[in-house]
């Protein structure tokens, strides 16, 4: 039994050293793994694992933040990922959530750290925006089938679907597309809705006016909004007189949101 325990202790120490070697910024910075590897009958082969681990993690992160990677340039982005791997290290069991941990690492970078890495002031916001797009793309489906807004009554609830987010931005990061990643990013406030199209599953972004943002925020509150309150919040936000033309515009906007898969009628309790 003691021999068994010793064998397992040895295996555990080796595993820890190997994972550390794979994630360390420099392959020479983890002496214990190197020495363990050098006692193996196939010593240099362990470095293959380091290359495989780092390539997979880099690709996963780059795939999640393609515009950030392009804007920062390969060298700077690589350095950022290497710093993440060695200091924060991926802790999630799910590969698809590694980019979320990378984003958390960026958020925790002290301003001095960000300056040292020469990150532009919009970098974090662009990263957050790109992650939000992924989150929306793969957000859980709503519990039940879509209920259209036709015939909605005053006391019915209107709700935002799960796959939509309303966010205030301070830079125009939402205008940087995959096709045109070098589009200039300006410092300008905007409120956007990132949503998943109900039929095509494509993730899209709408720049919102103040009344539209108020509408969606009301619908996104837990439990959604009673339809009459929903209309009132839109009227308050617009500051316009509520007349026939306002109601027509409101109805058209609400139905447009519903057709995109942003809003739906709430389920009866």
């Amino acid at each position: 039994m003691n021999a068994d325990n010793a064998a397992l202790r040895g295996a555990r120490a080796f595993q820890e050293a190997l994972v550390r070697m794979c994630l360390a910024e420099s392959k020479n910075s983890c002496a214990s793994a190197q020495s363990t590897a050098s006692s193996s009958p196939f010593p240099r082969a362990w470095l293959i694992y380091r290359d495989l681990v780092r390539a997979r993690l880099y690709e996963t992160i780059e795939h999640a933040f393609p515009r950030l990677a392009t804007r920062l340039g390969e060298g700077a982005f690589c350095a950022l990922v290497a710093q993440f791997l060695s200091t924060a290290t991926p802790c999630t069991r799910l590969l698809r959530l590694v980019p979320r941990e990378f984003l958390a690492f960026l958020e925790l970078l002290e301003p001095s750290g960000a300056q040292a890495l020469a990150l532009p002031e919009w970098a974090l916001e662009l990263a957050r925006f790109e992650w939000l797009e992924l989150e929306v793309a793969y957000e859980d489906n709503d519990d039940a089938a879509h209920i259209p807004l036709d015939g909605i009554g005053d006391q019915d609830r209107i709700v935002a679907t799960r796959a939509c987010r309303v966010r205030d931005l301070t830079h125009t990061v939402h205008r940087v597309s995959r096709e045109e990643p070098h589009m200039p990013i300006a410092k300008a406030a905007a409120t956007v809705c990132i949503y998943r199209d109900r039929t095509t599953f494509e993730v899209k972004t709408l720049e919102l006016s103040a009344p539209a943002a108020a509408l969606l925020r009301a619908a996104a509150a837990p439990g959604g909004a009673i339809f009459s309150d929903f209309v009132r919040s839109a009227a308050d936000a617009s500051g316009d007189a509520v007349d026939i033309s306002w109601l027509e515009a409101f109805a058209s906007l609400t139905l447009d949101f519903a057709s995109r898969g942003i809003l739906q009628r709430g389920h009866a309790a």
Partner: protein
């Protein structure tokens, strides 16, 4: 797991037409960290809704000290490690409520402390855990080239009656090391191993793994047709031997 949108819709469409078998990379069965209860709970939900007949994962570790490498890393082939993994497989099986199958991995180095052959190690784990074997023939071929052993002898030493599924794939060669990539066509040697194995193991589901560098659709279909033809030929041979009450020996 826990995903909606396009992927969920695709899975639902597949489930309407085909039976689903779940396969994972994240259990780290050869690791030393406690089994992740939250992950097992989510996996159990998926296993139930997909009605998978078994769930498979790999004979390897991927995490240590809370850090995840997201790579299939080799464990030493020895009895204590076989017992350790078998215990974790049993506990996973209990948590999921379906039988487990374990898959042999490609390895580019041998973990220190190994004192068994890979076939002995796999057999030990499978019998101790009372689980099934997902036999990856490309991984066996890759290992046989990287570590210098006879792939046929290794397959012959495995408990083929425990095989629930076979994986085939392509691999790359880098600095004389074979690397499992799932990004190339299957090599001739692996096609040959498949025929040899199926004629001894009998009919088994065969899965072509292709994750990257996809060829033209027609080329992929040709590969599938060839796999079909090999499977039919090998299974006919297996059935004919069985009818004559004789078994093909390794």
């Amino acid at each position: 797991m826990g995903r909606g949108g396009r992927l969920r819709a695709a899975l639902d469409r597949c489930a309407e037409r085909f039976p689903i078998v779940t396969h994972g990379l994240a259990l780290s069965l050869g690791g030393f960290e406690p089994l992740d209860r939250a992950y097992l709970r989510d996996l159990r939900d998926l296993v139930r809704t997909s009605e998978t007949p078994w769930h498979s994962d790999h004979l390897c570790f991927s995490s240590a000290e809370g850090a995840f490498s997201h790579e299939l890393l080799p464990v030493p082939f020895n009895l204590p490690m076989a017992r350790h993994i078998a215990d974790r497989i049993r506990r996973t099986q209990d948590a999921l409520g379906v039988p487990m199958a374990v898959e042999n991995i490609s390895a580019y180095a041998l973990a220190p402390g190994s004192c068994m052959t890979e076939a002995e190690f796999i057999s030990e784990v499978v019998f101790r855990a009372d689980c099934q074997l997902l036999l990856d023939l490309n991984n066996i071929y890759v290992n046989s080239m990287n570590h210098g052993f006879d792939a046929y002898a290794m397959i012959g030493a495995l408990p083929l009656d425990r095989v629930c599924q076979i994986h085939v794939a392509g691999h790359a060669t880098s600095d004389a090391v074979r690397i499992d990539t799932h990004a190339e066509s299957i090599c001739e040697e692996v096609f040959a191993l498949l025929e040899w194995t199926l004629s001894r193991a009998g009919p088994k589901p065969v899965l072509l793994e292709r994750d990257d560098h996809f060829p033209a659709w027609e080329e992929l279909c040709r590969e599938i047709k060839r796999l079909d033809a090999i499977t039919k030929r090998a299974v006919t041979r297996f059935e004919s031997c069985r009818a004559q009450n004789r078994e093909l020996r390794p």
